[in-house]
Symmetry: C2
Subunit: 423 residues, 2 copies
Amino acid sequence: MHAAFALKGLVVDTPIAGEIRTREGYLVCEDGLVEGFYDSLPGRLSGIPVKDCGGRLILPGMSDLHLHAPQYSYCGTAMDLELLDWLERYTYPEESRYADLDYARKSYAFFTRDLLHTTTTRAAIFATIHPEATLELMRQLDEAGLGAYVGKLNMDRNCPEHYSEGSPENGALQTRRWLEMCREAGFARVFPILTPRFTPSVTDAYMQKIGEISREYGAAMQSHLSENLSEIEWVKSLCPDAQNYADTYARHGLFGGACRTIMAHCIYCPEEEDALMKRNGVFIAHCPTSNENVIAGIAPAARYLRNGYEIGLGSDVAGGHTLNLFAVMASAVQVSKLRWRYVDQTEKPLTMAEALYMATAGGGRFFGRVGLFEPGYCFDAVVVDDGATRNLREFSAPERIERCAYLLSSRVEAKYVDGCRIL
Amino acid sequence: MHAAFALKGLVVDTPIAGEIRTREGYLVCEDGLVEGFYDSLPGRLSGIPVKDCGGRLILPGMSDLHLHAPQYSYCGTAMDLELLDWLERYTYPEESRYADLDYARKSYAFFTRDLLHTTTTRAAIFATIHPEATLELMRQLDEAGLGAYVGKLNMDRNCPEHYSEGSPENGALQTRRWLEMCREAGFARVFPILTPRFTPSVTDAYMQKIGEISREYGAAMQSHLSENLSEIEWVKSLCPDAQNYADTYARHGLFGGACRTIMAHCIYCPEEEDALMKRNGVFIAHCPTSNENVIAGIAPAARYLRNGYEIGLGSDVAGGHTLNLFAVMASAVQVSKLRWRYVDQTEKPLTMAEALYMATAGGGRFFGRVGLFEPGYCFDAVVVDDGATRNLREFSAPERIERCAYLLSSRVEAKYVDGCRIL
């Protein structure tokens, strides 16, 4: 067998939402894909290199469906405002600094270094409106071996003059120029994704052009949806002829279907938005840490998950305060309990097994066959050393994962993407 | 000067709730107390030993007003039930194991080791009903140099037969025996506190005896109050003649005033309970992580703090999932935002400065002059290395504290209690 190897140890994943599968044995990689799992290596595989992971946890690499890389520089601060004021006061001033390529290079180096040390192997990332700085981020992520979709932002209204693309025409021009730069760069695992920031930042004329570019390039898209009540009212007043917030994207072909789409948040979606998301296979990025921090609310993630929507987790740095998806898993469970207590008792709170599913198999689906240890899936794996959480009890694998999520003292010891060891 | 020394560096505390005071200079300790703060050491102090803390943060040691040491063994697991079921299913079976002194010794060693490495210098702790095991915990904490009030639990109803004191008479006997053991042990900074688990666990007859013991020994008390709606209904049915939940303690002299008292949670207190807490100076232990995990709700902590109640933070391990009060601070801010969003818009969310106040000055008041760097206060200090949170930006001291709370990657490098270095 060509380029095959195995990880030996405690292999954990979630083929079914809400159930944690634990197997002890050999997880075999061949040509970057999961070849299979074996209690003991069969004869034809004898002789392949085996890395013994001892008692550590072997988990699928996690997928972060939503985060803003330029905001990482102030992550964990500036947590005192609601969304729209927060954008004006903290976000736009910081993001506009990425016009300076040198600043971008330095800042993204911190971001990439820290992301590499988390459990995340794939991410969908917002950058800024600057093509060169965005390309620099993509280059750094690719060199680190991470998998990502990265978006140069589209913005031509309701933003500071010095942090705007100015017009639909210039925006489209810059976007095409950036897409060509990406094509030329030919990164291994990092791809462009169209990223209209959110409807308030993008005129209808520009949104239409982004739809055209999506069809021209076959490009995926990501944006925000129904995060905050004031935002929803604002969208209504900006787009009085749209049927709802989702329609401001959908009427330009930017809401799932042929255009693979991630929508972050989805806290206050009316029924018809929900229906459209489901029909079009739109991925929901559930971002519980951010939704607390910018005082947005609590999304009905349990309902989405249990009703067959495409849903994964997003750290949403820097509305979210951490890149660590273990922390986001814990937060997802916790806020779902408060939602049950205060908002809606028709859906039981999320379980940690469901949170792990969203962080791995659920979000991974956006990136292809990612997030499970099944034959044919990308061999994305993290080896987690949770020795610091040990005490006198014996914990089961699901309990150990729960403790990784709550205690946040585990360490990613090794990390593989497409079978390549990157950490 | 006798036994004086100074810490040099960035000295941060909160003399006023909601305001962070940052001073750069020399914090002088003499005879275990804060002697003063100086921009530069005056002549009469020249020659005292100075520890240069470089750019690290020098914070008051934090006070954890509520936690269950025997539950630490399953901390971060078993998070799928509401309070009353959670007690039956997870808590009582584990706590009953502490009848075995050897088990207690081993388990408490993990607890003490881990508590030592947090920012906590003082804690109010629930143990189990076992006098010997409780004394063992007290001995370990005292040897580690930590300050604590520790309670052997009082329980004589609604608990498993093998985990009950059986009768008010035996309970009172065991409690007096334990108090005598404590007196004899003569710990330096660890003291007993009367601990009726909560009203459902303690008959009126036993509660009355506990009140008598409190007056006899001048002992403080700690318990739970109005955490969960089912619990409140249960108390009403158990004590139909009490005016409210608080009165089930107060009518026996166990609710503040001469009996210094901590009540954990206080989520659903009616007005008259609030009024009694305020009048009697009852300390509220606000436990936001636990209140999420056991699906209790969100306490009106901002209202309590801003209206002059005595209030501090509690990790409430193992309803809470971490001993780290930085994490509890972040959680306090986060859930207060959800409370504002979903429960009550009359009180703005807590700020991180208020959370730091509760963790230090607010909770510290229960232990005496603790939690501030003012002359005459106990010299309880932690030196926090937050180097792992650095990036290309310059962060102010309040921002660095915010990042310690959210990113949870700082490290306690040194720790002093009463001027003694214990880490």
